[in-house]
């Protein structure tokens, strides 16, 4: 019975959302956007990050994590593929920015689409031989891919080895508006840049979700065999999910590298893949608002509790367990997902039969 109570409250929220007229929803979007634009204010920062620089962490980790989580959500939340090596695409974007920026002298705006394409190609290269695998097999292969990229960067002199690459150019300034002057000191322009990209990505992803592609992903997630039998070219759509997710990761990497100037392979550890995955799942995989919330919390909480330094990871680990116990479907689950859960068969297969409990 308890189980029913939880989706109910959430359900009433989403019902009132559905009742909102078109202009009402639009107004909410505009309000959210205005809120996001005003977010770097110092007064907010004093509350949100008293022991760190709020404007900086709004770009990284918060902005970048949110972007990565939205990208990974396509792979995990929409297509139901477990990817434990998502950081690889982030790294590819970062290194593309670093190498093309320092050695070829390309501009940020040229590198961004190039890197997105490169990451997408990498997604296809990883996906093509491996996407026929399922579950744990796919997980370990993706994990391996992430490690391969990092180790290769660490051991290849042309990628700077463990020293990485320094002197990465910033994006060129736009006009004389202070929000668009990309330098070392002011993090705000980078935050607005990542915000703009995020808005574009979200619009595109939501459109995609409600298109034929999105329905195909849903079918794959729910029952791959059945989808295949119904004539959904599952392999093609899985590859699409991988490529689109990868390209968003790549874009995140470009942003990150152009802000921090110097990157090393240690910027792209396995644990980052895990954190982003945790963000997606704890937020509510498949629901973009949930994913954003999850990524925000994963990025923000450790910064908020700097004073707590030694216990941060401990508490984070404990909180993940508690959260998964009480809200296995995430903080803001997607509606379809919630229904899959109550049926006891999540997209990745449930943990076992629902058996009558000894209560």
């Amino acid at each position: 019975m308890n189980r029913l109570q939880i989706p109910d409250v959430r359900g009433s929220l989403s019902r009132s959302w559905e009742r909102l007229p078109r202009w009402g929803r639009f107004a909410v979007y505009v309000l959210l956007l205005v809120g996001a634009v005003l977010l770097p204010a110092d007064s907010i920062g004093r509350i949100m990050a008293p022991e760190s620089d709020w404007k900086s962490i709004l770009f990284f980790p918060i902005g970048v994590y949110v972007l990565l989580a939205v990208g990974l959500n396509i792979v995990v939340g929409e297509a139901g593929l477990l990817d434990l090596g998502y950081v690889a695409f982030f790294a590819i974007g970062g290194y593309a920015m670093a190498l093309l920026g320092t050695e070829q002298g390309w501009s940020f705006w040229v590198i961004l689409p190039t890197a997105i394409a490169m990451a997408a190609v990498a997604g296809v290269i990883l996906g093509a031989p491996t996407l026929r695998l399922r579950g744990d097999y796919l997980a370990i292969v993706t994990l391996g891919f992430g490690e391969i990229i990092r180790i290769t960067a660490n051991n290849s002199n042309w990628m700077g080895g463990p020293r990485g690459i320094a002197g990465i150019p910033h994006p060129p300034n736009v006009g004389h508006v202070s929000q668009l002057q990309y330098g070392v000191i002011d993090p705000k322009p980078y935050y607005y840049l990542v915000l703009a990209l995020l808005v574009i990505v979200i619009v595109v992803v939501q459109r995609l979700k409600h298109s034929r592609v999105g329905r195909a992903w849903m079918a794959i997630r729910e029952d791959e065999d059945a989808a295949e039998l119904m004539g959904v070219p599952t392999f093609k759509f899985k590859l699409w999910a991988f490529a689109i997710g990868a390209s968003i990761g790549g874009a995140g990497g470009v942003m990150f590298a152009s802000k921090v100037i110097a990157i090393t392979p240690s910027n792209f550890p396995f644990i980052l893949s895990v954190l982003i995955l945790a963000a997606v799942v704890m937020g509510g995989s498949g629901n973009i608002a949930g994913v954003i919330l999850g990524a925000f919390l994963v990025a923000w909480l450790p910064e908020r509790f700097r004073g707590f330094a030694d216990y941060r990871v401990l508490v984070f680990g404990g909180a993940l367990v508690v959260l998964m116990i009480f809200r296995p479907q995430g903080l803001l689950p997607s509606r379809q997902r919630a229904e899959e859960m109550t049926e006891g068969q999540g997209g990745m297969g449930s943990m076992g039969a629902e058996t009558a409990a000894e209560t």
């Binding site: 109550t342 049926e343 039969a353 058996t355 009558a356 000894e358």
Partner: protein, 241 residues
């Protein structure tokens, strides 16, 4: 009364799958439960076996309320099910699958189960030839035999059969039902769920008709065979043997 369901309700999430099912099975009977796809037949069996939680109502077995008892303890009480789709363990050999049937009888050692093996191999000689073959490599008919044989290994007082004829050739179907009658003759009470209503009604003593989570008819099986509604809905107007 061996088994009694009293106004049992079961939910899947928000959907009510059983809307107050009441039925009884007497010692020594074959009772069959017929109905269309999605009527709640399998859910009823799963509820009796403890795979589904009862939202309200009672399940009584041999006078004891077992509605909230975990599934594995119900097996110890003597309820054993051959599930829909047979549920053969594909990685285990025929013998190992049969041994799984005797799992609930804790003290069971080889000597003790010897008789049970003999009984199963007598009923299903085909299995005796395939003792060491893994379950996944058997044919559909053999798997069904194995599923029933495995359930018998538990020496059940009540045997639950979920669609024993599903996916089998007509000749095999009659064979299976003959064996079911034989098992019943040896003293095991049977509750069988079937879409092949003709066979089920022909072999059963009594029958219930389930429609969208409710019992809509209950009568001696023979009389249902003559029932016009039932014939129209489940027998396609044609009476089997």
């Amino acid at each position: 009364m061996l088994l009694e369901l009293d106004d049992v309700r079961v939910h899947y999430g928000k959907v009510e799958a059983l809307k107050g099912v009441s039925l009884t099975v007497e010692e020594g009977e074959i009772v069959s439960l017929i109905g269309a796809n999605g009527a709640g037949k399998s859910t009823t069996l799963k509820t009796i076996s403890g795979l589904r939680k009862v939202s309200s109502g009672h399940v009584r077995f041999a006078g004891e309320d077992i509605g909230h008892m975990p599934g594995h303890r119900r097996v110890e009480r003597g309820i054993c099910q051959a599930p829909e789709g047979r549920g053969i363990f594909p990685g285990m050999s025929v013998v190992e699958n049969l041994e799984m049937g005797a799992y609930a009888r804790r003290g069971s050692v080889r000597g003790d189960t010897e008789d049970d093996f003999d009984r199963v191999f007598q009923l299903f000689p085909a299995l005796a030839d395939r003792k060491s073959q893994t379950g996944g490599t058997l044919s559909g008919g053999e798997q069904q035999m194995l599923a029933i044989g495995r359930a018998l290994m538990a020496r059940p007082r009540l045997l639950l059969l979920d669609e024993p004829s599903m996916g089998l050739a007509p000749k095999l179907v009659s064979q299976i039902f003959e064996i079911i009658t034989e098992i019943n003759g040896q003293g095991t009470t049977i509750l069988v769920v079937e879409q092949n209503a003709a066979q089920a009604l022909a072999r059963a003593h009594r029958a219930y008709v389930l429609e969208t989570g409710r019992i809509v008819k209950s009568a001696p099986a023979r009389s249902l065979l003559e029932d016009d509604d039932v014939r129209a809905a489940y027998l396609g107007g044609r009476i089997g043997t």
